[in-house]
Structure formats: C-alpha cells, structure tokens
C-alpha cells in the first residue's frame, strides 16, 4: 500500500515535472500588425493559439506608424517575432535588409506555389523570397442593384466595359436629386491606385516605373481612363464632393444608397451586409476599355519575419500554418475573409457569389513592384494624384500625364 502510494507520488511528480518542462518549452511570440489588417490577423492568431502550445500575442500598430516603428525597432534590436504590414512596403523593407530570407523554407512549402502570383512577385528581391501573402484585399467594381432597377437597367448585369459604366452612370444620374451615377475619392491617392489604376492596367497600360530607365504611364489606357473620368465629372455624374474627398468618405456615400457604381475593396461586401443589410448590390471585376478586359489591385498585408526575431523557427511554423488549408479556410474564409491562396477562391464557406468573384479577382490582380511607392503614389503631393486632379477636374489630360511621367521618372532615379 505504502509502495503504491510512493509510486503514485512519483508518477505525479514526474507528470508535474513533465508538464512544467512542456510549459517551459512553449514560447511566447510577439506579432505586429497594422490596424487595417488587425481584424483578419486576430482571427488567424486566435485559431493558432487554440491549436498550438506556442502562443502569439498580437500588437496593433496604426497604419502610418508601421514604417517608423519597424525602422526604429530594427535599429534598436527590438523587433517582434513576426510582422504583417501593407504589402506595398515590401520592396523598400527588403532592400533595407529589415527581413529574414525565407527562400528555402517557402520554396519547400507546397502551399506557397498556390499563393496569388501578386504576393509572390512582390515578396521577391534579387532572387530571394522574404515573405508571403497573409490577409488580402482586392479591388472590385460594385453596383447598386436597386438604383439599376429604378433606372431601367438590368440589375443583375454589372458593367463590363468603361463605356458601359459611363452609360449606366448617365441613366442612374437621370433619376435626379442627390442620386449620382458614379463615385470616387478625387483627393485620395491610395483609393485611386486601388480602384482607378486597374482600369488602366486592364486596358493594357503600365503605370509605375521600376527603375529610372523604365517609362511610366505607358499605353493608351492611361489617357483613356482619365478622359472617361473627366467626361463623367463634366457631365455631373459624380457628386461635387468627390473633388475634395481624401478617402475619409471612400465608401460612405455608396452606403447611403445614392451612388450607382463605384470601385471599392472586397472589404465593403461585409461592411454593407452589416451596416445596410437591405441594400441589393452586385460585384464584378474592374473592367477595361474593351469587353473581356479586367483587372484588380491586390492589396492587403504580407507576413514576414523581421531580422532579429528571437523565435525564427516558430515564426516560420506560423507562416507555413497560415498557408495551410486550416489557416486559409478555418482562420480566414470561415470569417468571411479572403484567402491569399488563389486555389481556395471557391470553398465551402463562400456561399455568396459576390465573395467568390472578389476572391477570384486576387488571382487576376496586379500589384506594382516599385521603390518609393509613397513618393510616386501614396503621398498627397504625389505625381499620381496630381495627374488625376489635373486631368479629371481641370480637363488637361495630356498635360497631366506628361507632367506625371517626368515626376515619376525623377523619383525613380533617386
């Protein structure tokens, strides 16, 4: 009896020690995510934490502070184990040497091959891979079916060319009052690279220069798309407030049900379902000049490991896991978030065809690989937004494009 008790106590001691050593071996990881991608990242991290002994704590960084925070963190040797940020900063961060080389690890992962091409392109620098897709967003064209119906248009058929967008917008504007055919944020550079540039790319244009020798704003699509916007503006199909909107009202007007058509992000689908559940709206690809032309801008966040991460191996495990079927479907799709793997655009959770269309847009979308993206595009003084404002609101399309070309080349040469 005493022996049995002793054996029991020994067994208990061993199990406690084992549990203790197990607990000691479980790591606590830190991850930074920008505010815009925090919701999606939180779903993934929560799921990871329920399934793994190594836990991840998410820290949300305001969008416009991510670069400063990472730069000072790298300089001070105080970085998180994993980082997720706006994919557009990838070229600058890779060049600056902020990120771990993940080439061998990612190339060995069969799921990496299925990730949307735009992410793979953007995370490559001098033959090496530094990250992969994480929480995507992509631009699409939305139309208000209720307004289409009132205007005598087929509510189930979205526009498939720029000319159709124009014609539909005219008919919707004819409803009168404060109902407008089209909306875009005329003073928001980011909104327009997201929703206007794909119209140009779909029409065969090339927008930004990768090097100083590269010619920017090439192809007839650039001028034609600007002229298309100019015409709609001159005809009063767009609300006057579009000229001054710096993005704070990017999707707000569409939610009021008074806008017929607008380019937006996939995020708007769940926003509309939540905020205006009665609104009937459709989703299609951003079209080009001719029928069959379509494109989108692949945005959202990439995931990478900063140089100096104290848990490199577990960080890699997390990256591999989030690319797995479990991460993509249970972590993202189940929560109405688009997966970064193009092969999962159709899945058991996406029962809404509008979401499937959006997910498919990731596969055909583009993202520009350039340094100085902020200078060329994102800044409020960028040649990109100056070109749009001069062309659309002042009508000098050719002059605006010529000036922007020179400015972009000058920035690319820095």
């Amino acid at each position: 009896m005493r022996l049995a008790r002793l054996a029991g106590a020994f067994a208990l001691g061993v199990s406690v020690l084992a549990a203790g050593s197990l607990a000691a071996s479980a790591a606590e990881l830190t991850m930074w995510v920008r505010a815009s991608g925090a919701n999606a990242a939180q779903h993934l991290v929560d799921l990871w934490n329920t399934k793994h002994d190594d836990k991840i704590t998410l820290t949300v960084i305001p969008d416009d502070q991510m670069v400063t925070k990472l730069a000072t963190g790298v300089a001070a040797g105080d970085v998180p184990d994993i980082i997720s940020f706006d994919l557009i900063y990838m070229p600058d961060f890779m060049k600056a040497g902020f990120l771990e080389d993940l080439t061998d690890f990612l190339n060995a992962d069969p799921n990496q091959a299925k990730v949307a091409q735009a992410y793979k392109d953007l995370a490559s620098y001098e033959g090496k891979l530094y990250g992969t897709g994480f929480t995507p967003d992509v631009s699409i064209l939305m139309w208000n079916k209720d307004l289409f119906k009132k205007a005598g248009l087929d509510p189930e058929k979205g526009p498939t060319t720029l000319a159709e967008v124009h014609e539909d917008a005219k008919k919707i504007r004819a409803l009168g009052g404060d109902i407008y055919g089209f909306w875009f944020s005329g003073a928001c550079p980011g909104c327009n690279i997201f929703t206007m540039s794909p119209l140009m790319v779909a029409s065969g244009a090339k927008i930004l220069p990768k090097t100083a020798e590269d010619e920017p704003l090439q192809g007839p699509g650039v001028e034609e798309v600007l002229q298309f916007y100019r015409d709609m503006w001159s005809e009063g199909l767009i609300p006057a407030s579009a000229e001054a909107d710096n993005g704070q009202n990017f999707v707000g007007n569409f939610k009021t049900g008074k806008i017929g058509i607008q380019g937006a992000g996939g995020f708007l689908i769940s926003d509309l379902k939540r905020d205006v559940p009665d609104m009937n709206f459709g989703v299609t690809f951003l079209p080009g000049i001719n029928a069959g032309q379509k494109s989108s801008f692949v945005g959202g966040d990439v995931v990478a490991v900063p140089k100096g991460s104290k848990n490199l191996d577990i960080a890699k495990q997390f990256i591999a896991w989030q690319l797995s079927d479990e991460g993509q479907l249970e972590g993202l799709a189940k929560n109405n978030i688009l997966p970064s793997r193009a092969d999962l655009s159709k899945n058991q959770y996406f029962t809404d065809p509008r979401v499937v269309t959006t997910a498919e847009a990731i596969g055909l979308g583009y993202v520009p690989w350039v340094f100085h993206f902020n200078d060329m595009v994102n800044s409020n003084s960028s040649p990109w937004i100056q070109m749009i404002q001069t062309a659309v609101f002042q009508g000098d399309v050719k002059g605006a494009v010529a000036t922007a070309k020179d400015a972009m080349k000058s920035i690319a040469s820095e």
């Binding site: 600056a96 003073a187 006057a240 409020n380």
Partner: protein
C-alpha cells in the same frame, strides 16, 4: 575665495536646469543639425552629405510654396485670434456668474485635442451631411451647399474657422487675467474724468495689456507657423498640394518619403525662420514700447 565658492554653488543650483536643457534641447537640436548634413533614411543608413540637403531645399518649390502658405495662414489667423480673444476678454472680464459661465464655454474647446476638433469640423463642413452648410443655407447666406475643401482659399478659411473656435479661449484667458490685474482705481479715476468705455479700453486697458498682447501674439504666431494636424486632417494638403504647411511638408519628407536627412534640413531652416521672426517681433515691440 568666497566669490569663487559662491560661483560654484550658483552653478550647482542651476545644474539641473543646464542638464535638462542639454538633454532635451541642445542634444536633439545638435542631432537635428547633424542629420541635416547626411542622407539619412528612415529605413536606415546615413552618410555625410555636406550641404546638399540645403541646396536641394533651396530648389524645392513645394517647400517655399508651403512656407508662403504657412506665413499667409499665420498672418490671417493671428490678428483674428488676438482681436476676438481680446473682445471676449472685455466681455467676460468681470466675475459675475453669467460671465464666468461664458468664459467657461468659450474656453472649453481649448481642452479638446486639435486632432479631434479638426475631425469634428471636417464633418461639420461636409457638403452632404455637414451642419455648417445647412446653417448657412437656413440663414440665407448660401443658396446651395458648397464643397469647402475644393479650393485652397476656401479650405484655408474653413481651417481658420475651426482653429479660431478651438484656440480663441486661450488668448481670452490670458487677456482676462491681465484685465483683472489692472488697478481698479485707474479705471475709476478715468470714469470720474468722463472717459467713455471705449476711451478707457483704448487709453488704459490696451496700453496696460501690451506685454500680454506680445506674449499671446508670440504663442499664437509660433503655433501657427508650426501648424500641422488641422491641415493633415481637414485638407490633407489638397487641393493639389496647395494647402501644405511647412511642417506638413517636413512630415511628408521625413516619414512618408523616408528622407530623414532632408526633412531635418527643412526643420533647421524652419527653426531659423521662426527664431528670426520671433526676435524681430520682440525687437520691434520693445522699440515701440520705449517710444
């Protein structure tokens, strides 16, 4: 021996202040000047670059345009703030319950953050849902709503209105404390001599508020020369970059374009301009005071 000793003791007394200034003013300023002589990037790396950043600043049309815009903003808003602040102080200087309440109401926006108030006004000025347009239409000032941020001049006035609402209470409080500090007997003597209200304001209150006016003007002018949040939130530099202030342009270069070295050079130039402007203002005011 005693003199030397007392000098050391004196130094000991001021040592904390010297250390404070050295750590929080001299070192950052020195570092700023050093950075301005490099090609430092926010993404790391800095190489000595001589005065290239200053040469570049000389040729940077946007910087000079933004500086011109900032000076214009300062010249517009400073007299408005001083005038309205002084008038509000005249109206509320006495300590009756109603005037105390009025002072509190006018001062209330001062405690709101500038970012918050700018966002609030951005919505108030909105063409479609903003109450400001609605009020102007109801008052028959406008026939239809206007888009406030489409034209630089209109956008500037929209920002001025929002900042005046936010800041005017601060000047008022300074003036109130000054007016309340004026000896009651001086006013009473003037009243016995038959001086009207405005004569007393012009001949007694204003001259005796000279130092407060100088202080309030300096604070207001320096604050306006460093304007950033209100334009960042309300105009985002638009339309077409016409409402960039100097600090906004420095921010753009340093944190959006990652050019820390160049941003530092612009900061040094702006600091020098503000120091020179302030010195000139103090010099002119003192000379006037002496005459």
């Amino acid at each position: 021996m005693n003199a030397v000793r007392s000098r050391y003791i004196g130094l000991l007394y001021v040592a904390p202040a010297i250390v404070f200034v050295a750590v929080f003013v001299a070192y950052p300023l020195g570092r700023l000047v050093w950075l301005s002589l490099t090609n430092a990037s926010l993404l790391g790396g800095a190489r000595f670059d001589g005065i290239n950043n200053y040469i570049r600043a000389w040729k940077d049309a946007t910087f000079w345009t933004s500086l011109g815009f900032t000076i214009k903003y300062t010249l517009y808003i400073t007299p408005i703030l001083m005038g309205l602040g002084f008038l509000a102080a005249l109206l509320t200087a006495e300590n009756t319950p109603l005037k105390k309440l009025t002072r509190g109401v006018i001062f209330l926006p001062v405690v709101i953050g500038l970012g918050t108030s700018s966002l609030l006004w951005w919505w108030l000025f909105d063409q479609q849902v903003g109450l400001f347009n609605r009020a102007l239409i109801d008052l028959h000032v406008l026939s239809e709503p206007i888009v406030w941020f489409t034209h630089a001049e209109v956008a500037l006035w929209a920002v001025i209105i929002s900042v005046v609402w936010k800041v005017v209470g601060f000047g008022m409080i300074l003036f109130v404390s000054n007016i309340q500090g004026i000896d009651r007997e001086i006013n009473e003597a003037a009243m016995i001599d038959g001086a009207s209200y405005w004569q007393r304001v012009g001949r007694i209150v204003l001259p005796l508020s000279y130092r407060t006016i100088l202080l309030a003007t300096l604070i207001s002018a320096i604050g306006s020369m460093l304007a950033f949040e209100q334009f960042y939130i309300m105009t985002a530099g638009g339309p077409q970059g016409h409402t960039f202030t100097s600090v906004y342009w420095i921010y753009q270069n340093s944190f959006v374009f990652f050019k820390l070295g160049y941003g530092s050079a612009l900061s040094v130039i702006l600091t020098l301009i503000i120091v020179l402007g302030t010195a000139m203002q103090i010099f002119l005011t003192r000379r006037r005071e002496r005459t």
